[in-house]
């Protein structure tokens, strides 16, 4: 009985381990599924101290972006409602302007944060990783999930 249970447990543990290794391998193999912190770490070949520094910068930016996230959702919903209600062209234009302004503020924060990250790096690191980091930053601070969690919709 005990032996049988041990055997079953071993099989279960093995299955869990294999699944875990498989998942990690899949994450490594597919760049779209790395977290943003992993992308930045790989792109710039960050050492441990730099990784911490980047995390602090991104954490701060994500926190600072909270009102912008709320504004984006609010103005987007307002625009949708204006369209649904068949509001006047002027009303739709005003709603569009409000959303575009929120979108611009978010983009500015994303690029400012990337500039702050670049300032912490050596020239050769910037050269190697800027392109990937640049595209990854789009929408990095916009998700309901924190910036370094795998998002529900992949934007990088």
């Amino acid at each position: 009985m005990t032996r049988h249970w041990l055997m079953r447990s071993s099989v279960l543990v093995a299955v869990v381990l294999v699944a875990g290794v498989g998942t990690r391998a899949a994450q490594r193999a597919d760049p779209a599924l790395r977290t943003r912190l992993q992308v930045l770490t790989d792109a710039f070949s960050l050492d441990k101290d730099q990784k911490n520094e980047v995390k602090i910068l991104m954490d701060g930016a994500y926190k600072a972006a909270a009102p912008l996230r709320a504004d984006l959702t609010k103005t987007r919903l307002a625009l949708a409602q204006a369209v649904i209600d068949n509001k006047s062209e002027a009303d739709v234009a005003a709603a569009t302007k409000a959303y575009a302004a929120a979108s611009t503020a978010m983009a500015a924060l994303e690029m400012k944060t990337l500039a702050q990250i670049l300032a912490t790096l050596k020239p050769e690191q910037k050269d190697a990783g800027l392109q990937e980091a640049f595209y990854m930053m789009r929408a990095a601070l916009q998700g309901e999930k924190k910036w370094d969690e795998t998002p529900d919709k992949i934007t990088y």
Binding site: R76, L77, R138
Partner: protein, 168 residues
């Protein structure tokens, strides 16, 4: 100086990828778990039926995608100018780049609104209640994220709305 060269390369790469019709799209998979595409998220939110509504909405996005494609490089170029202005700490350039981005974002928004109107017309009354939330999901739907060197995302096709977009 080296950074400026990279920024220039970035602009060129953006233009190249945009000319190729965008980069990443499609749904990546994770050990059997498939990350849903934006279209799948939208379809789930609105409760589209797979037989008639999903193909109809896909066709709408496919048709409208052509209007979005020329705006994608404008968006990334404006973002690149925003980054350059930040790196150089030039307030005047920051303002110019922000205005450039607002213009591009407004153009893309017009495309999204056009798509939204057509999608809304396909919905049944009970689905229409969820339409505003659907429009939130559609944010950035037509903006494919170029991958390094213009390669597509694994599992992805050409540029388009299927899953490479997102964000606003």
């Amino acid at each position: 100086m080296a950074l400026s060269r990279v920024l220039i390369a970035l602009v060129l790469a953006t233009g190249l990828v945009a000319a190729q019709g965008g980069g990443g799209s499609g749904a990546p998979s994770l050990g059997g778990y498939k990350v849903p595409t934006l279209f799948e998220l939208l379809s789930g939110k609105l409760g589209l039926d797979y037989k008639t509504q999903e193909p109809a909405v896909q066709k709408i996005f496919g048709d409208i995608n052509a209007k979005a494609l020329p705006i994608i490089p404008e968006i990334f170029q404006a973002r690149q100018h925003m980054l350059s202005a930040e790196v150089l700490n030039r307030a005047d350039s920051q303002k110019t780049a922000a205005d450039e981005y607002t213009l591009a974002a407004t153009k893309m928004l017009a495309v999204e609104v056009e798509a939204f109107k057509q999608v809304y017309a396909q919905l049944k009354p009970n689905q229409q209640k969820k339409a505003p939330d659907g429009f939130v999901i559609m944010a950035g739907m037509f903006v494919s994220t170029p991958r390094g060197g213009g390669a597509g995302r694994p599992g992805g096709g050409g540029g388009g709305f299927q899953g490479g977009g997102g964000g606003r």
